[in-house]
Amino acid sequence: MKRTTLATVAALALVLAACGSDDAASDTTAAPAATAQTPAECAAGKTIADGTLTIATGDPAYFPYVIDDKPESGEGFEAAVALAVAKQLGFEGDTVTWVRTAFDTVIAPGPKDFDFNLQQFTITDERKQAVDFSDGYYAAPQAVFGLADSAAASATTIADLKGLKIGVAAGTTSVDYVESVIAPESDALIFNDNAAVKVALESNQIDAVVTDLPTALYITGVEIEGTKVFGQIEGSGGDEWGLLLAKDSTLTECVNLALAALTTSGELETITTTWMSEFTDAPLIKS
């Protein structure tokens, strides 16, 4: 009896995980019709400090999400998204306050000292037990990086990648992506971790590495000198990032309204292109 229950729970969790993103998407489209109010009307009086919107991010916040650790400027992908959402909710300039938080404490249950928080939180069902998430504002795509003088540097389509020797780190979604979508002519090498991938790049065992864009940006920007992101692969978005709010926050639906409005107006896409593609110099690789 107990065993069957466990199996059912496990199966259910899998099903939920599989369709989590779809749910989020349908919420977005359904919400405005049902409530028929603007995000600003919705948010009125619901913030933790009356008349101000308190937004939280990491300490420090990094490139390209927040430039120079100054989110107030609106420079950087998440800073821009946050201020755009704030504007939709009716807050601008002095009425927006920024606070800093540590990643781990934020996803724990309990009261929050911010209205919403963004620092690349992936939406997961497990985390949803403890906190609220808005609909996704970004789905990290697969990206290609390597040494700046690599043959892969000029790739503009997936077909250009097929002839290359590609390396991936084991246990990531990129392994499956490389093998099933890129399907390189010569088998991809699969390494235990990014350290081994780095050595393989440097010793000319591989032309390029495939990983998700945030990891690629981090590795090329911080970890391995002389490397460069060659591009992000169009339509390869995976895990979604959401704005994080306190569990059962009344503001969650308002934030979703704001995100829906930004999506409809194309503003979210403009912000994404500006900061995650043009600014990071990671052009689209066409599928």
Binding site: A170, N192, A200
Partner: protein, 277 residues
Amino acid sequence: MPGTRRAAFDRRQRRRSALVAGVSTIVAVAALIVLVPLAPGWDKVRESFFDVDEFRSALPQLWRPFLLNLRVFVICTPLIMIVGMLVALARNVRSPALYPLRLFATIYTDVVRGVPVILWISLIGLGVPGLFQERAWYSKGIVWGSVALVMCYSAYVAEVFRAGIIGIHESQRAAARSLGLSTGQTMRSVILPQAVRRVVPPLMNDVVSLQKDVALLSVIGAVEALRRANVIVAKTFDFTALVAAAVLFLCVSIPLTRLADHLLVRQIRRSSGTAVR
């Protein structure tokens, strides 16, 4: 003399012990079959380790990577035997002029055996290819990973050969020399033929062990059977692929182990000298 009372007694004894062995085996196997599924987590374990459909879909995917294991194994084994024999000979040179050779061989076996195989493979397989600029067969990680395997196993095998050489009685050497054979001739035609025959069973142990250790090449990016199984597991969250990989390894190692056992028994029978040839 089949008719004697002694022969009849022996027959009865043999039949009795065969019966006891048979019954106790059946009891042990039955206990396994009955008891393991009684474990509270058995259903979940069976689902995630012994899923028949998963096994069927994993096995064909593992076959091609497993050929890589076999290729490395087949190429490395003779190289290991040759290098191992050379190192063993170097450790046995008696001429004072060649002492540096002996010293070097001793240091080689000590240092190589003193570091885990997986560490040698990481160091050489990831490190040495960086010395080359162009991409050629000799700059591949898998080649240098195999070199690391040959290095480690030749050190093990050298010790086995050396034990065999030392184990030949000094009188053999003395007899050969008194017949006028040189040191080299003595080694080649008298010592080695006896020594090698004696160490074949322990050598086979190392060969079986090598066949499994080829899987360590996965640390340098080579997609061999174990790595492929891990990739399948990461995708399906079902561990049956690992069991399928284990079955493939067993397909090679069990026949090898049986062969080693057979050789050992044959040798004991020969050296205990019932039939003089």
